[in-house]
Every structure is written in structure tokens, then in C-alpha cells.
Homo-oligomer: 420 residues x 2
Amino acid sequence: MLIDQMFIPYSFIEKEASHVEGFSPELALVTIGGGKELEEKLVVRPTSETIVNHMFTKWIQSYRDLPLMINQWANVTRWEMRTKPFIRTLEFLWQEGHTAHATLEEAEKEAMQMIDVYTKFAFEQAAIPVIPGRKSKVETFAGANRTYTIEAMMGDRKALQAGTSHNLGQNFSRAFGTQFMDENGQIEHVWQTSWAISTRFVGGIIMTHGDDAGLMLPPRIAPIQVIIVPIWKKGDEKSAVLEAVDSVQKILKEAGIRVKVDDSELRTPGWKFNHYEMKGVPVRIEIGPRDVTNKSVVVSRRDVPGKQGKEFGVSMEPSVLVNHIKGRLEDIQASLLQKAITFRDSNIIDVSSYGELKEAIAEGKWARGPWSASDADELKVKEETSATIRCYPFEQPEGTKKCFMTGNPAEEVAIFAKSY
Amino acid sequence: MLIDQMFIPYSFIEKEASHVEGFSPELALVTIGGGKELEEKLVVRPTSETIVNHMFTKWIQSYRDLPLMINQWANVTRWEMRTKPFIRTLEFLWQEGHTAHATLEEAEKEAMQMIDVYTKFAFEQAAIPVIPGRKSKVETFAGANRTYTIEAMMGDRKALQAGTSHNLGQNFSRAFGTQFMDENGQIEHVWQTSWAISTRFVGGIIMTHGDDAGLMLPPRIAPIQVIIVPIWKKGDEKSAVLEAVDSVQKILKEAGIRVKVDDSELRTPGWKFNHYEMKGVPVRIEIGPRDVTNKSVVVSRRDVPGKQGKEFGVSMEPSVLVNHIKGRLEDIQASLLQKAITFRDSNIIDVSSYGELKEAIAEGKWARGPWSASDADELKVKEETSATIRCYPFEQPEGTKKCFMTGNPAEEVAIFAKSY
């Protein structure tokens, strides 16, 4: 049995009470194998805490074996009634980390560290200004004591839970008997975390930055950062243009820029312009006969449409060209993030009453307000407005607060929104 | 529906007649999803030709779309009665490539090219001297016209099919209607290939090079090429030793060598020696107080046991040390391959009669001999000796040949062996 195993005996899933309660409506079950009805149904993994603990019991004996930290890229399955590409799919690919520690403090530190890693990735690489915070008890992962989350605002202003990190306490280690001998010879249960981001994040990138012309990829994560399209009409122009294209490609490649040339003669330049716009390539370079003569290129930005985003006469001189293109890629990266921040901030409303929350949600916005009401109240908000608590953000306003629902003192503000 | 989808509608599998015949005894079937009995059973993918063709019919219209070549890393499931870690597992991870071409010639070229890629990888990276060749009709992939294979001899002299490449002809494109318009406006079916290697190859590496002390990894693919173990006894020795260890680590890292230091104080040096031997790390460096004084290190080779593999007084001077370690890593890589070639060649017997074949197989060896007999004869050999045709090797002896079974003329020699 391997830790990354896809089939989990049904009895494993049943061991942790809240885990099975949370996941049982979403399971895909293999009941026939090699032509025969199976004695025990197999669950196609929805997440791997149970199989991980099964293995950890074999791998962990002593405090010397801790912390034990693993990460795997795996596909998981959750049976969904309504699916949406990338965002909610029956099967998805994710990275799932699982750790075991000797103390609660270490586990908590790990869980926080990972939500920080995800937050930095979102801001710095994907240009998505997520809001990190803690989930409400109602929204906490089935089997966790605490769930941390990063919440992203999509172009339609719905929230996307884009990554989570869980402090699992000793819930799974008690269910599976994952124990270790500490430095004093005492037998203890390990403290655990798990954390994941998935292909859903790809959907988040599409829906944060994309427009009607297609994808718009932040340069740092774009597989192709620069597409070069050669343009010629007469046969004798071709070799000079292709020679210049080849030289420009080499210059950019050597500078570490991810560049591609599309010199296919089966498609027109106009078709290629649309194609790579749709694919979200941040920068396009056109090189035609006149550019060859002038030793220059035409540079277009994916994020600035039309003439405004087009620069003529950019020199082919290597150091000038490389600096110019690197500068443009950085501009685009920063501009996408700034645009998303502005959009996000103009769509979060501070509310101090349930009426204000309803109004904000009805307008499609996010509502942020002090909250210390009950789980029942939280579910009532969901029923009446379709909005849920996305998180108690880590960044909290100063001063005393009153719960907008009950008027009681509240320690924190929560963010409510409709979500995917 | 995504091309890398894990669940395949049962009706897809049924479309290609020999495909369903070959795979149906090995399928895992999901029959329950989200608590409900499914209307159509889902097959947990055993291989993806069917789903690939389903998508290719949408992606391919014109000769401009060809060749279409995709590769994916995916887990696949085949229900096995008897499993063996890495070698035969219910679920395994593999790389599967799928291509569509405008002509048979192109498809054949692609299939041959990929078996060449696998052969080179085996020799140059994994130090496994595989024998590339063509499968017999009986052993050809269910749905292919031709299967090319690389066959490796394990330490117990059983054969391991370590990678395959298939020329699928138009079998799947006819079953699924995967068509394109050629340059003359004619509608044609595409010509296809598929090819894969899997985690089974990891088993091949273990069983080719490993010994009683554990793994022995070829340096080029070893995740850790050099393990450094610091040794000190008295408290005041520690800082000087760790400083030297740190400096040696930096020197090797900067030279592009994959190096790890184990300075844990929870384990003894002896425990670490055994541990990294078991993990197959090719080179171990020990640094103790005397080495620090002498500005030298002790270097041990995983592949040469005991004192013979141990060199004292190797200088810490960066250029000397780097050259020395790089040289040792190359020696080990070459030596592992040479050892495996010698072992392989001394265990293949040329046979000219069925009696000789039986004798060779009974001795646990591989038998190579001219073969032009029937499929029925091939199955008879299997029944009587447990040996199967591993391949008709690409490298064929010159001259006329007589089938060792029938005495009829034979165009090729085949290799027979027991296999995993």
C-alpha cells in the first residue's frame, strides 16, 4: 500500500466521525474490480488524510521521526451535482501536504506558514490579491480544528476559495492511533496539518484577469511570455524577416524570457494575433520587412487593447530590446495586480447591520462587518442571501466592535460573499 | 470533459473491439457516485486511448491540426490478482503520449522514435542495458497494429517490459471517427501512436542494481548523489567539523552536484552509513576532526563494498574535490551499466532447438533463436516453459535462419524469457 494510493478502503473513511459525515455525500465508489463484486467498497480518494494516517502509524515511532512532512501532487474525486470547468470538477488535480508534529504549537505554526506561502504565491506570481483568514466553524474542513483560507474575488465578484490549510489537532491521529514516544518515553498522539491548492487556482487566474478576448496571463506564470509573429508578403521578403525573427528569439531566450515563434505559413498573422491573445500571452512582437530595414520591432501588450498598447520602432539592439521587454513584462505583472486590488477594494462594503449586508450582497458585492452571532444565524444568512462567511480576515480593524446581527460585542469582522 | 480524465464511460471502452477484449478482465468500475447508483458504469482509466480519441475528434478538423501530440503524467488502474511493489500494482503512475498523424509513415516514425528515446533513457540515465525490439502478435497491445518494447533483465534474470510504444494504425480513429480534411479536401482517418513508461521503471532500477544492503542508484538519476556525514566525539570538535562540512557542501552544490548533509545528533554515524547505503546514495563523504586538520575528506563508493571502495585523504581544495567527486560519479555510472551488460550477455543463450530453449529457460536464462512458428506454437512454449516472446530484437544476426521450432526458414530471431 502506497501513501499516494487512489483507492481507500471505505472503513478508513469511517474512522474519523466528522470526516465521514462531511465527505460521504461526495464519494465515488468502486464496487467491481476485475469482473468481481468487491468485498469492501473502495472510495476513490476525495482527500488523503485517512490513508496518510494509515501510513504514518507505520512510519512514526519516536520523536526522532518528527516532524514528518510530505507533499504529493494527486488527482482527487468529489461527486458534484453541478460542475464548472476548473472551479468545480468531479475530478481535480491538487497538491496536498500532510504533516505530523510533536506539539500543537508546531502544527499551528506549520498551518499558518502554509497559508502564508499560498498568499505570497497568489499575490506575487498569479497577481491575485487574495484575502487570507480563518474559516468559521461552519465552514471548517471536515475533520479539522481550524481551517485557514485564501479568498479571491473573481471578475463577477463571486468569491473563490483558492487554497486552504488545516490544523487537524489530534483528530486523525486519535482515530488511527498515530502515536510517538516523546523524549521522556511517554506515548503521545501526533499533531497534524494538511493543506492544498488545486487546479481550481487555474480557474481563479482565468476569472480574475481574463476578458472577452480570452485569457490574460500574469507574465510570471505565463508559459509563453512573448510570442513573435513574422510578417511578409512577397517571397523575397521572407528570408530576411525570418532571419531577424530568429535573432530576436535568441536574444530573448538567452535573457531567460519564455519566447515562442509562430512562423507557420498555414495561418495568417491576423489569425495568430487573435489566437495568442485568446491564449493570454502577455507580449506580442511583430516583425515585418520595414522593421527589418529599421532594425526595430513592434511590441504589443495583451493587457492594453488597441493602439494604446502598441509600440513601434523598438530597437533590436540586444540590451535595449531585452530591457524593454523585461520592463514591459514587469509593468504588466504589476498592472494586473493593481487592477485586481482596485477592483476588489471597490467591491467590499463595510456593514453594520443585517440590512446593509443584504443590500451589499444583493448588489453582488462582498460585505465585511463585526460578527459574533451563532452558527444558526450564519446558516440563516446563507439561506436568506446565499452568502457565506468567507473568512475572518487576518487583517482586522482596530477598536471595539458590535456584531451587526445581534448587537453583542464582537472580537472580529467577518467577510460574507456569494461564492463558487 | 478533460483529456486527462480518470473516469471513462464504459461505452467508450467498448468501441474498439480488441481493446475492450484485452482490458475488460482488468477494469475497476465505479458504480456509485454521490450516494446514487450510476446509469452508466465508469471505468477507472486503464489507459487513455479512448478518451484521447473522444477529444481528438473535437480538436482535429484539418491537416493543419496535424500532427497533434500530447503527453500526460497520469495514474492508471489495472485490476491485478497478484501485485508486486512497483512492478505490478493495481494503480500506477505513468507518462502516456498520444499522437495523431496524417500518414502511416509519420505514425510509424513517431512510434520508432519514442522507443529510441526510452532506450537511450534506460542506457544513459538508468544504466539499464535494455533490449529494444518488436512484440510478437500475441503480445501486441490490445488495439495496436505494432508494439515496440524495451526489455530489461532483472537481477533474478526475469525479464521486465520496461516501456512500450505502439503504432495504432487507424484502429481507434475508425472506432471513434477521428478524421481530418487533407490538403486535397479529402476526409481521412488519422494515424495514431501511443507510448508509455511507468513507475514500473523504478522497480526496474531497484532490481537491476540493488543488492542485499538495499538500493544502488545510478548517479545521474540519484536524488542525492553525495551524502556528507560529519563525525565528532568531543564537544569542542563539533564546530570545526561542521564548518568544514558546510564548506564542502557549498563547493559541491556550486558544482551542480546533488548533495545532502545529515548532521542530525539523534542518530550515530554508523546508523547514517547504513541508512544512506540502503537508500542507494552513490557517494558518501565522511569528515571528522582529523580530516579537518588534514584539509581532506574520506570518500566511499556505494557500488564497491568495504575498504576497497574507501579513499582517505581526498583534498578539500575545491577544484581537486569537485573533479574527484565528479569523476567518481561518472565511474559509478559507467560501472553499473557495464556490470549490467556483462550480466545480461552472460545470461542469454542462443538456441537452435526447442530442447535447447527448454534447457535455457529451466536454468533461469533467456533464450534467443530463429522463430517463424505459429501463434499456437508461441502459446505452447508459454504453457510448457512459462517463457514468452519478449521481443524480436532490432539487432538481428546476419545470414539465413531456420526456425528452431519448425525448421522452416525464419526472418528473425526472437528472445524468450520468463517475465514479471
